[in-house]
């Protein structure tokens, strides 16, 4: 099967075989994900710092978060991670039709996540719970309250952008699966886009308790 993949021109000349090539690809993806983690880490640090400086403001402001929608989104993202993991499993077996189906479900979950997120943003917008000088909510005021919303919109905004990019990636992978590209010798694009999607889930796993509960 390696020779088959190599025959299709997928093996770069500087790799001895497909296995080594795929390992290098995964390694590269992990390194890219580490830069993504550090990108989000800066925002997590901002969160931790402002929370430390304005504990009361953050505690009161986080009570304004829509916990039910946040919790639903957690369930949605975790389930979408499962469907991606299953898609990778079937891609390795060459069951491309199942891959297309599972990826379609995943993209659907991603869309659902964004719709719920949109409703949350809309409510915060309506209530004037916005960053900095745009904050005009009368219910809770005090030092740090608008800072919570700055951090909230930055973190969920960057995360939402990643969800959109992930949906785009998975769409591309699903199109390739529909053309029957994947099999036992070659499933790297499914694996790597899957890793990206799981990272999005992983970051949300921390965002949810930090922004909605704590």
């Amino acid at each position: 099967m390696h020779t088959e993949a190599a025959a299709q021109g997928r093996l770069a000349h500087h790799f001895p075989d497909m296995k080594t090539q795929e390992h290098a690809a995964r390694m590269g993806m992990w390194l890219f994900l580490s830069t993504e983690i550090l990108l989000f880490a800066v925002l997590f640090t901002a969160y931790a710092l402002y929370r430390f400086l304005f504990p009361l403001g953050f505690e009161e402001a986080s009570k304004l978060a829509h916990v039910a929608m946040g919790a639903t989104n957690t369930v949605v993202l975790i389930t979408s991670s499962l469907t991606v993991a299953l898609a990778i499993h079937h891609a390795r077996k060459g069951e491309n039709r199942k891959v297309v189906g599972l990826l379609a479900i995943t993209i659907g979950f991603g869309a659902l996540f964004m719709v719920l997120k949109g409703f949350e943003y809309y409510h915060h917008w309506q209530d004037g719970q916005l960053p900095g000088r745009f904050f005009h909510y009368a219910g809770v005021t005090g030092p740090g309250v608008s800072m919570y919303f700055t951090v909230y919109f930055l973190m969920t905004g960057l995360h939402g952008l990643h969800v959109l990019i992930g949906m785009g990636l998975l769409t591309w992978v699903a199109v390739r699966a529909a053309r029957g590209h994947f099999g036992p010798g070659y499933s790297t694009p499914v694996e790597l886009s899957g890793l990206y999607w799981h990272l999005i889930d992983l970051i949300w796993i921390f965002l949810f308790p930090l922004l909605y509960l704590v």
Binding site: L33, L82, I88, H198
Partner: protein, 143 residues
Amino acid sequence: MTATTHSEGKHLGPTQYVLVWVALMVLTGVTLAVWKTHLSYSARVVLALSIATVKAALVAIFFMHLWEEKGVARLVLVVSAVMVTLLIGLTLADNATRYPFANPPYSESWMDAPHRKDAPPMQTEPGPVRTSPATKSEHPGGH
């Protein structure tokens, strides 16, 4: 070492994935349930973050295939986690040990600093002013 395309023979399958998903769902439920209990605030925060860490580990090890990964790729996530901890930890350690007026106005340590009304940041006695709750309510009038 029956080498298929993906390294070792410790391949994960749909059964494991579904089990991990169930575990993640249960842990999400536990996070929400714990939050509604009457445990102390800090205990609930520690619990919520511990559960999040366990969930993240489950996702990384099983969904992200660190279980079947080999070599240095497994190290990348661990190193990232260490770096994130350092970044957050050192930043907080900095602000927690600062002279109170070096923190932003109206932040907690700024508010707790003694004589904050009377002593502008620049003209106080040398050395750090100790933050103590006892002095919080003292606002000696006049200048």
